[in-house]
Amino acid sequence: MSARPIAVVGASAAGLAAAEALRRSGWHGPLTLIGDEDQLPYDRPPLSKQLLHGTWEPDRLLLRTRDQLDPLGLDLRLGTRATGLDAATRTLTLDGGVGVPPLEQGRERGRLECAGVIVATGVAARTLPGADGLAGVHTLRTLDDALALRAGLADPARRLVIVGNGVLGCEAAAVARELGHDVTLVGRDPVPMAGAVGTEVGELLAEEHRARGVRLVTGAVDGFTVAEDGAPARVGGVRLADGSLLPADVVLLAIGSTPAVDWLADPALDTSDGLRCDAYCAAAPGIYAAGDVARWDHPVHGRPVRFEHRMNATEQGMAAARNLLAELAAEGAHDPGDTPPERRPFAPVPYFWSDQYALKIQAYGLTAGADRVETTLLDRDERRTVALYGRGDSAVGVLAAGIPPRQIRALRAVVATPVPWDEARERVAAATAAS
């Protein structure tokens, strides 16, 4: 049994799932969970929904209570940032926070020699030049971000400009309209969420947002103007590249995110668009990755993929944990016990959902980057829709809005592995015939 810990870097959904799976699979050695925020692990999807809406308070977002975490026997280091990883020796460098070990003989402060490492550092919200230090301009990634935005929308009838019309921007627009604010959604692409779900489903979403009173604007942002009420450095509007000005009391930048890999400077690791992994979620011997930050070879889809989907965070956290333990057992550094005997490729059916107004959108497989999409509108007023996404001659993804759960599970089966396009069309039609 190794006296070295397994370290999980990143204390959100993927990191927590990895830590729990390590314990369930029989890792009895030391286990360090490192998070750069001060909070206990919490869930992010509700940030742009229930938390922003004010129906949930932060306690409701906790993924586990203290009482649920205690039996894991974690060396939990919150407010701690990993600043480096030497892949060959599996050594982390840590900065700040509580619990970083004091100087011990032969041990440099802030260095952690590990039996294995799981990287689950997620992504960071992108921002725009000129946004820093300008009050009233927000991003939405962390609990603190969401609380600040919520406070900015505490007064009634604020003028909110949301820059970016992807999933996050659309969800925030829906909540802000329900709260009665004046909402403008700006995107470079005229169709909301087009990159994730294609043009036709995006048009349907655009209809719903317009019907609810959201103003949809197409354009690139050129910069910000400052409020004229004398308050220094408070945003007053968003200036577009065509010279037009959108007045704003509050601005949300929802322009995507960047994988949190800056701290991984080891040339042995490929950190272009996330931490590159093989089909087992391994970036190097003993080094695994999971969640938003991981780009791995999906064995079914035959190309590297990276998902910022909540479901993938838990599934990949569990897969990376089990594969790491199988590797350590093979190295003799871990008593196999309950550990799966060998590593398995991570081959999930991707899943994402989005809630906007009363509309729930659910999708399985790959919907982004499709080269063909067939959308069937079952009920325009209720936005009941099913869409099939293909690459080449195969169907690889399916999306449903307003479809009963049993039928959605049947749709999942259609795209669990790529199937010939015509066969998938027939199966989707059969599964939704009663809708």
Binding site: L63, A313, T314, Y351, P405, I408
Partner: protein
């Protein structure tokens, strides 16, 4: 084993039903999780733990 749900948090992903269909189901109207068996037999325990771990909204709590 005893299972409790915080069903208000459910996002209707249906993953629990795929993993442990004898223990979990979904409401027809909105897909929210339904508990079929709050104290499942031992042969279901591994599947239930997996379902609880994988739930993307941390809805399922398992007491052992």
């Amino acid at each position: 084993m005893k299972i409790t749900l915080d069903a208000d948090k459910c996002c209707a992903a249906g993953q629990c039903v795929l993993i442990a269909p004898e223990v979990f189901d979904q409401r027809d109207e909105d897909g929210v999780v339904v508990l079929l068996d709050a104290e499942p037999a031992a042969d279901q325990h591994a599947a239930v733990r997996e379902a609880a771990a994988i739930c993307p909204a941390a809805v399922i709590e398992v007491h052992e």
